[in-house]
Symmetry: C2
Subunit: 472 residues, 2 copies
């Protein structure tokens, strides 16, 4: 058992931690919902050191769990209870390797924190658009492993769309350098896309070449208030038509979510007009001046306001106001943790089906789970609805089997999504939490191909076992 | 030998052609550079019929070559000389299955001609942005198999970025229905991306769900004239900064290419200012009015014109003028066929390296191949340069071994691209033509993974054998 630890300790550029106290933070997720055991936390400081660690584990048959910022929502970044795996932490690989503003690209270690990459881009007057709540601690490697979505996906795409090339270490320690910055490269199967979203089950991504964008000359941000989700969706369609290619955020919150934020962070609360059932944060970014964009935004909203669809609108006239509008949105995960036990679902449906989904989900909750409060955090622009069934801690404490309950609630809601041509996992990934959903919702030929690929590229089954793919 | 033909003939919804006359058009590519033999051309009329054909071929061990519009530039769509394969033509599967403008998506048979899909989108006031010279005959399935690029890739991405979901028939006849229209779907390995660009070597794509876009409110098109490629690149950088997200074309032509078009299609020729070495077609599409966009375009060009970088500019003030500016660009492949024997290279390099690439390629041609005229057709926005070594037919006729000569010229130029972090195959794919380049330029771990995946998903090696992957 300790032989592998001694082997790893002897490798240059590798630090090894194996006391319970020092490993504690690596063995539980930040929401404290998933925990496990591990032999050691191993942190190499270079691609070569990762390769040496992987080779040693391959030779010894030791499972490897790659860990970035440990901000998974699905139990993807903590080990299981067997205690057989080592955690391979990318935290020491945190350098910006190079940045080329002319080529609109940056090449980074996988352990770079997302916010560090955003800031490096801004230093060169460029934009790295990936943005999500955990950006101060999540790492690029984790964003790649889960194909992160976030609030700017509407305009700039998911992580997949922002990755030009990757460097990865394969299960046997082989280094694959695919770090190109090309926009076009049709030379064989696109292995990069196979690794993106594979949650560390095929190898470890150690570096990435990422796309940068020009910083938009101007931005305009507004918060709209609606009585119904239908009215919000109708207005969103109007805005999509008015700003082709310029909309950068369409973030929907249910009144229940705004109320939760107000309850736990009163200083972040926004005044709402009477009858508000929903809010929609709209951000537009483009050429020209801010005043022009704001005028255009207000002009586009004239008809929906006259029709009574929009109850009211707050237009941010400076950066402070913009932050105030965004703050409740950025506070939802933290506020929900204070509120109670929220079962967050990560559903995506075709955009036109959003109202039907919400109507059916609310009705089902009212019928089957009267103790739940429906809370919605939606990326409306891409049909991605985080539909949350919120329970009190008291209710939760009385459950016989919270795991089974969680799974059952998931199936109830995900069944509706599936029926509408949707998915149970839009942007958070599978981890361990969604394994039962993989078996339930994925087509048999698709699962069979995934298992075949996994068996081929990780023949000893050492990479992040028990994640992503349900047992066959 | 004829047993499989009888089996296929008996299948419902399958037409089989096996006379030399009827097959002739399927056995040679449109530029008449690649040809081969086949047992039969088999055209199913539905996904189920494709499945039945694949199952029969799987059982009989008969290789299958999928064929769309047969417009490959690399010999990817015609069979080899063995005559063992059947050609599976998608031409009868040409229905638009459904279109949903609200969801910005359309679902089509793989045999739909690209232009038909473009027109269906326009009928619903939407844009399907893929656009390339062969759009009147190439099929969606071929665009997916090769991950087509084209002239709008700068703004809308390659085919990969336009595909939301696919339906494919696997080598043993299994139908995989992955036809979702979701923008986000992180549920296991992204098999869709594995099939896109796989050139029919893993299975046959039979249907696709594609992204649509709002039609831009306005477009502005201009043709710029430059003395040097450097000046064109500098101006392109200025335009990229001025129009973040709005540039939809940056098409570079060398003077030699404009001259070739003028020689063979005099009525398509444009007058050029003295000293023109390069032209750059710029198209901008966005919100607002056409007049606004044109003003903005001219304002952005003021500095480069004053600096003397831009010799002159033609601004299209109506659709007829726009077409006149595009016409030489759309005529290059046809004109080059008239001109002589053009060895087209499909190179991409990081954008900042374009001038260095052109300088080195020109110098190398002058030194090693004085009989060649350098001709350049470049998608400047994404660093994709079709660098063409043009030879006279007389020169070509005297060559001992044109195939070896072609390969050698390719290596000379592709070596420069590789040295600059580029690729030998940006958007045309591999086919048979680039097989020697795959072996020369792709990293060993990457080739090994590709071979492993191929062996896993196509264990009998029946799908488009001898394409994409070099022999091990």
């Amino acid at each position: 058992m300790s032989e592998i630890i001694e082997t790893l300790r002897a490798l240059p550029g590798v630090s090894v931690t194996d006391t319970p106290e020092d490993m504690a933070g690596n063995l539980i997720d930040w929401r404290r919902r998933f925990s496990g055991k591990a032999r050691a936390v191993v942190a190499p400081d270079s691609t070569e050191a990762v390769s040496a660690v992987m080779r040693a584990c391959w030779d010894a048959g030791v499972p490897v769990l790659p860990q970035g910022g440990n901000t998974s929502m699905c139990g993807g970044s903590v080990p299981d209870d067997s205690g057989t795996a080592i955690i391979l932490s990318l935290s020491r690989m945190n350098r910006i390797r190079s940045i080329d503003p002319e080529d609109d690209s940056v090449t980074v270690d996988a352990g770079c924190v997302l916010q560090v990459v955003q800031e490096a881009a801004l230093d060169h007057d460029r934009l790295f658009p990936m943005s999500l709540g955990a950006e101060g601690s999540c790492q690029i490697g984790g964003n790649i492993a889960t194909n992160a979505g976030g609030t700017a996906a509407l305009r700039y795409g998911n992580m997949r769309d922002l990755v030009l090339g990757i460097e990865a270490v394969l299960p046997d320690g082989t280094i694959w350098n695919g770090l190109r910055t090309l926009r076009k490269n049709n030379s064989g199967y696109d292995l990069k896309h196979l690794f993106i979203g594979s949650e560390g089950t095929l190898g470890i991504v150690t570096g990435a070449a990422l796309r940068l964008f020009p910083r938009p000359a101007a931005e305009a941000t507004t918060l709209l208030f609606f009585a119904t989700a239908d009215a919000a969706l109708k207005t969103a369609a109007t805005l999509r038509a008015a700003f082709p290619g310029e909309l950068s955020a369409l973030e929907l919150l249910s009144r229940s979510e705004q109320d939760i934020v107000a309850r736990h962070f009163p200083d972040r609360a926004l005044a709402m007009p009477e009858g508000t059932g929903w809010t929609l944060l709209v951000e537009v970014a483009g050429a020209g001046t801010e005043a022009d964009l704001q005028d255009k935004l207000m002009a586009a909203l004239e008809a929906p306001m006259e029709a009574g669809d929009v109850l009211d609108a707050i237009l941010a006239s400076n950066e402070r106001q913009r932050e105030a509008i965004w703050l409740p949105r950025h506070s939802v995960t933290e506020a929900n943790m204070h509120e109670g036990m929220g079962l967050t679902h990560d559903i995506a449906i075709p955009i036109g089906k959003v109202p039907e989904f919400l109507t059916r989900a609310d009705a089902l909750l009212a019928e089957k789970l009267p103790d739940a409060t429906p809370v919605v955090v939606g990326h409306l622009g891409d049909g991605n609805m985080h539909y949350i069934a919120m329970f009190t801690r008291e209710f939760w404490a009385k459950l016989d089997d919270p795991k089974v309950f969680t799974k059952d609630v998931g199936h109830l809601l995900n069944d509706i999504a599936a029926d509408l041509g949707g998915t149970f996992s839009a942007e958070h990934g599978i981890g361990t939490m969604h394994l039962p959903d993989m078996a339930r919702y994925k087509a048999a030929p698709e699962l069979a191909m995934m298992h075949a690929i996994k068996a081929t590229l990780d023949p000893k089954g050492l990479m992040n076992p028990g994640r992503l793919l349900p047992a066959q």
